[in-house]
Amino acid sequence: MRLADWLKERIPVDLEALKVYSNEPVPRHLKHWWWCLGGTPAYLFLVQATTGILLSFYYVPDPSQAYESVKRVMSAVPYGWFIRSIHRWSSNLMITAVILHMMRVFFTGAYRRPREINWMLGVGLLAVSLGFGFTGYSLVYEQLSYWGATVAGNLTEAVPVAGPYLARLLRGGEQVGDNTLTRLFILHIGILPAAITALLAGHIILIRLHGVTEFEFTKDRERPGKGTFPFFPDHFLTEMIIGVGLAFLLTCLAVIFPTGLAERADPLNTPPHIKPEWYFFWTFRWLKLTGLTFAVLSIGAMGFLALVWPFVDAAIRARKPHSEASVWIGLAAVIFLTGLSLWEAIASH
């Protein structure tokens, strides 16, 4: 007790009040596992941060040493292969979880007033996650790293007006060169982590302020009791169970399918079969089908539409209050993006 008093004098926090603030009442539908996807990317982000810090102990962001340093992690550093595999698998799962979470939010209309800004923060989180993915695989300095960076740089350059300036900023020069890798590294370990932390904090604060969107299932209605349950310890324990499940899954994936190391980057030769990571398949296919300017503008327009979707949806619903347009548009988008991705996955060219 003395220690508690000593601490309380030095850290004057009212624990009872803190309990009230932190102990959010959670709607009962969160007892359903599919409604717990939001916490999954947050858990995976912690895994990414931990394994990422560990990887940075040995990684050298210099074109002449980057590939060899990754090779060293894989072959000479104890458990290096395991940590890198966890990092890689966790990044894939994180992007999958973000996409699934967004689909759940989209198709249940949970982005509607007053939660529009939180949807926009979510779109920002998706963009940052994709940015992490791109910069991450560029650092390995495999063939895909180099040609991915080349294509991304030229794609940026094709953006009207600001493109050439942005491309030069991204590449640290006129072409992909020595400066490029350092810039991608700084983005991956400095700027994007800061951005994701800020966005995640905003996202969670807004969830806490608004409360979780309430849904009611027919079968829940028949059950007796209140409509909510406490965040701590009930929901927190649910998230812990998901966390343990993910840790198990990641370990299995890392052990059964460890991440390999492809051919070293060769600036003189593009390999005959080159494909980006699966989450960029649809853009890759889209670039094959359309002219460059149209591709860049249409991808930008789709991103912008996703960002401001809650307001577009509100405008549609203001005209037709019982319209199911958002569901159909969402389905069309899912079919379009999945279709392009599958096409790219199956086609050899």
Binding site: W147, Y165, G173, E174, Q175, T270, G291, T293
Partner: protein, 169 residues
């Protein structure tokens, strides 16, 4: 509690009494302060932006020796590595010597020669080019972007090529 006795409670009242005079001074000092902050932090931001933004590379064209003409007999093709890492695909058509860049004009990947189809293909987004560099399929054809040609000069029995170099500072 008829009269405000607490200093905090009386503060708004005092502010109201001193209204117009204090307002002008407050406005001018705030403006100066805001101006000073904008100028100083703005300078710092500009310096940081200038620090991050790369200096413009120096572009220059250099004429370099490529090969003796006997290296590329009439009707044949050869590829040459150029200074700076680029590759030129040189063809002697008889009437002319053509040097094509092997960089795809779409998004910068390196093209490959497809022997069976007698065409160049880009492995990235499916651009297809004829042996003389004309785009026939894929995004480069949609945009009418052919393979870049290097200017070739013939001096007696030797070939020279004009190569653009970017020197990044």
């Amino acid at each position: 509690m008829s009269e405000p006795t607490h200093p905090q409670a009386s503060a708004p009242a005092r502010r109201q009494e001193a209204g117009p005079q204090r307002g002008r001074r407050w406005f001018v000092s705030s403006l100066l302060m805001l101006g000073g902050l904008t100028a100083s932090y703005g300078t710092a931001i500009l310096m940081a932006a200038r620090y991050i933004y790369p200096r413009k590379g120096i572009r220059r064209v250099r004429r370099v020796f490529l090969a003796p003409i006997s290296d590329v007999p009439e009707g044949s093709s050869r590829s040459y590595s150029l200074p700076g890492g680029a590759v030129a695909l040189v063809t002697n058509t008889g009437a002319d010597v053509v040097a094509l860049s092997n960089t795809c004009p779409h998004l910068g990947c390196k093209i490959h020669w497809e022997t069976s189809a007698r065409e160049f293909r880009c492995p990235c987004h499916g651009g297809v080019f004829t042996p003389d560099g004309t785009a026939t399929a894929g995004p480069p054809a949609q945009e009418g972007k052919n393979l870049k040609r290097y200017p070739v000069t013939r001096v007696e029995r030797n070939l020279f090529i004009d190569v653009e170099e970017v020197i990044q500072l």
